[in-house]
């Protein structure tokens, strides 16, 4: 019953728009609701990446730290965004820091559980990976534009 309720909530998230109910019910078995207070590190670079998040409320900053550079904030994520894909591939470690800039509510998915379900049901795996690929392409395109330093002085 709890899983079915959660699957209904998942269906309302932009990431899962259009996904079959049976897949959502299946995935809901790997999900739970989580909350992070403002300022909390959701994860830190180098830590084990065993989870991904679908943001429902609030703002999260992705950051990297360097000597004499301090904390560099290079992306912010919001409601309806996906946070984290290091759980997908070995060595399953986070590449960056993620910090809650406000109160954050999210669905958290157990990475091992989701990978096992995708192995068992390739249709689910295809549906999920298609969605991740779309997010990744969007992030890659935005990152490329960001690297161009568009607003800087013309060469």
């Amino acid at each position: 019953m709890v899983t079915r309720d959660l699957s209904r909530s998942l269906a309302q998230h932009a990431f899962f728009r259009g996904m079959d109910e049976k897949h959502l019910v299946f995935l809901a078995g790997c999900a739970k609701n989580v909350l992070f207070d403002q300022g909390t590190f959701i994860f830190r670079e180098g830590e084990k990446a065993g989870v991904f998040y679908l943001l429902r409320y609030g703002q999260v900053a992705l950051e990297v730290h360097g000597p004499r550079k301090g904390q560099i904030r290079f992306q912010s994520l919001h409601e309806d965004d996906v946070l984290g894909w290091s759980w997908l591939f070995p060595p399953y470690t986070w590449h960056f820091d993620a910090r809650a800039l406000s109160l954050v509510r999210a669905f958290a998915f157990d990475g091992v559980c989701v990978r096992e379900k995708c192995d068992a049901d390739h249709e689910l795996g295809y549906q999920l990976m298609s969605r991740f690929a779309e997010v990744m392409v969007g992030r890659l395109q935005a990152a490329r534009l960001q690297c161009l330093d568009l607003y800087g002085a013309p060469a």
Binding site: A61, G70, R73, F74, Q75, S76, L150, Y151
Partner: protein, 288 residues
Amino acid sequence: MALPPNPAFTAPHVNDPMVPQPYRIAGRREENYDTFTLELVPLGDEEPHGFRPGQFNMLYLFGIGEVPISISGDPARPELLAHTVRALGTVTTAMKELKVGDVVGLRGPYGSSWPFEALQRQDVIIVAGGIGLAPLRPLIHHLLSERRRYGRLVLLYGARTPGDLLFQKQLAKWDEKTALEVHLTVDRGTVAWRGNVGVVTTLIPRVQFDVSHASAVICGPEIMMRYSALELEKRGMARDQIYVSQERNMKCAVGFCGHCQFGPHFVCKDGPVFPFSLVAPLMKVREV
């Protein structure tokens, strides 16, 4: 035998579009480390020239050179012509040293304006990048002064860092005290920065507007304008609902010299504001 002087070359040409008129710097403000705003008033008894949002003036720094600069002030206050300048080349770098009371030459205003008549009863999405906010500021003043004629007003503004954002006090005031929704983003944030981080195009999918009754105006680097238009098209906006302000090497400002030729158009005379539907094919042509 010497020819008599030709009056056409010796008489003062006060109405000649190529002759600058002297203007005094009445106000000067640092916007950030390389950008400043000059407020200009006519030196003599000349009546101030009105202007339409989006137009530009040619500013002449005597003995150094002339540059096209968009008018960045309130069109309802033409007596104080504001120009926001980024110190990049020889003229604008020298201009940065000017003080209140100094005199520059000014001719203008020139060019096309933002199509505020076509924006009426529409949601207006204003997309600015870097110093591209300056030519949009007169339009924002106008939209806010005639608020009831327009739908939702949204400003999406991107800059390199929080310190590069122009008109910061005014942005905060617009967001808090007017109907303009202000969404800011920077390419690189600091820990103190609580706003969005990412290019300005990433803000477009998150904004609410009625695409069947919406228009967008974009000003910034050309690559940014192209990709912003692409994101707006993904939201269902047609190219003729989008307007861009082009930047080219403008010299004469009246369509004589051809320096700013952009395909069949002269940016100084036919632009700088164009419907995106008109210039989108040209933006894909290299070396145009």
